[in-house]
Symmetry: C2
Subunit: 234 residues, 2 copies
C-alpha cells in the first residue's frame, strides 16, 4: 500500500476510534463496575464494528477485587486464549511441566458457561502429554488484553489480575449436547477454526476445574470455590 | 475527564499515531526481515515516545519461519512476560502442572542475552513449587503482542508463533556480575520493580534452558538446539 494512502487509512480508523472509545467509561475503572452491562457493551461493539482490529478486546470495568469469583469468571470469559500446563511426555524432558498456548472459549460472547473449552488435535504436544496424564492447568491474565498496559501495571503486578484453573482435561463426548455448546462457543469466537485442516482429527476438550487460584490485588492469592465460580450470574 | 476533552485527547494521540506507524514497513510482514534494525526501531520508538501506551509493543518483521533459532530469540527478547509452568506443591493439587504469569527480560532493549531472567519472591506460589522441584517451562507467544490480531491470526494458529523453553529455574547468585545483568535487564524494562515492597525478599532467577520447542508456521514443532539459540547475533 502506498505510504500516503496508508496514512489516510490509519487516520480514518483513528478518528473512528475516538467515537468508539467515547462509549466506554474507562475513567471509572473498577469503580461503579457493572459486569453484565460491560460484557454487553463489548458484544455490541464487536458486532457493530465487525471485529475491527484497531482496538482489540476491551476489558472495561472488571469487577472490584472483593468479588473474586466474578473476577475469575470475568477473566475466563474475556480471554481468547490461555496457557495450558501439562506434564511433558517427551523423552528429553519427561516429567517436566510443559506450557503451551491454546485458544479457548467458555461460551459465545453473550453466554458464559465458566467451562473453558479447547479445540485440540492428537498432533499437539500437549495432547500427547494429556493422553498419558490429564492433570492440567490453565492460566489467563489481564495482561493478555491491553488493560494492564493501559493502566501502567506491570504484568507481574497483582492488580494485573490473573487466574490459574487446575483440574483434569477431558474430551467432550462426540455427538453430545455439550459438543454443540463447545463448538458454538469456540467457533463463534475463533471463526478460523471452522477451516482448520480436516485431517488433523480435531476434537473438543474441556478443563474439569478442581481448583481456582486468583491473583487479584494485594494480599496474596485467593482460592475461589468451584461452586462460587459457577454460581456467578453473567 | 470531561467527555469532549477526552475525545480531543484521544484524537490527538490517534493523529500522532499515524506518523509513528508510518515509520514501520508492516506491509512487508515477514518479508525482507531485518532483525537487528527492527529491534533498533522498537527501541527508538519507545525511547522517543517515552513508552506511550497507545500502540503497545511492536512486533514488526519477525524473522522468516526458516530461521527458527532467530525466531525463538525474537519472541523471548520482545516479550515482557511469560507463562511459567512448575509442578504444584499445594496439597490439593500436588503434582499437577501449575502455570503462572511472570514478567521477564532477557536483557536491556538493545542487549539480548537469550537468558530469561525473572524477579521472584519466596511468597509466590511458583517459588514454593520450585523450591521442591525446579523443573520449569516458560511459554511465550506473539499473541501477547498485537501481532496476531493485527494479522488476523487466531492465537492457536501456528503462524502466531510461540516458543516453549524448558529447563531448571536457578537463583542468580547475590552480588555476582550476573545479578547486575539480571537487575539491569529487568529493571530497565519493568521500572515498577524498583519500588516493589522491600519486605518480600525479592531475588533474581533465570531459566537454565535445556530444551527449546518452537511452534512457528505449519509442519509441526521445531526443536531448536540450545547452542543455535545462544549463537544468534542480535
Amino acid at each position: 500500500m502506498p505510504s500516503k494512502l496508508r496514512h489516510i487509512l490509519v487516520l480514518w480508523l483513528a478518528i473512528d476510534a475516538v467515537f468508539v472509545c467515547g462509549e466506554y467509561k474507562d475513567e471509572n475503572l473498577r469503580k461503579d463496575s457493572d459486569f453484565p452491562n460491560d460484557i454487553a457493551n463489548v458484544a455490541v461493539w464487536r458486532k457493530g464494528k465487525k471485529n475491527w482490529k484497531g482496538i482489540g478486546r476491551q476489558y472495561n470495568n472488571p469487577p472490584p477485587p472483593e468479588q473474586g469469583a466474578k473476577m475469575a469468571r470475568y477473566i475466563v470469559h474475556n480471554s481468547e486464549w490461555a496457557s495450558l500446563g501439562s506434564i511433558s511426555s517427551l523423552s528429553k524432558i519427561k516429567g517436566y511441566p510443559f506450557t503451551d498456548v491454546f485458544s479457548i472459549s467458555d461460551g459465545t460472547l453473550l453466554n458464559s458457561t465458566g467451562v473453558p473449552y479447547l479445540y485440540m488435535t492428537p498432533l499437539d504436544l500437549s495432547s500427547k502429554n494429556i493422553e498419558r496424564d490429564n492433570r492440567c492447568s490453565l492460566s489467563l491474565s489481564l495482561a493478555q488484553s491491553n488493560y494492564c498496559q493501559k493502566n501502567n501495571l506491570d504484568p507481574e503486578d497483582p492488580r494485573c489480575a490473573h487466574v490459574v484453573l487446575t483440574g483434569k482435561m477431558l474430551k467432550v463426548k462426540k455427538g453430545s449436547e455439550e459438543e454443540e455448546i463447545a463448538r458454538s462457543s469456540l467457533f463463534s469466537r475463533h471463526p478460523a477454526m471452522k477451516n482448520w485442516p480436516k485431517d488433523h482429527n480435531w476434537f473438543f476438550a474441556k478443563l474439569k476445574i478442581e481448583s481456582i487460584c486468583l491473583l487479584d490485588y494485594f494480599g496474596g492469592p485467593k482460592y475461589i470455590s468451584v461452586d462460587d465460580y459457577f454460581n456467578v450470574k453473567i
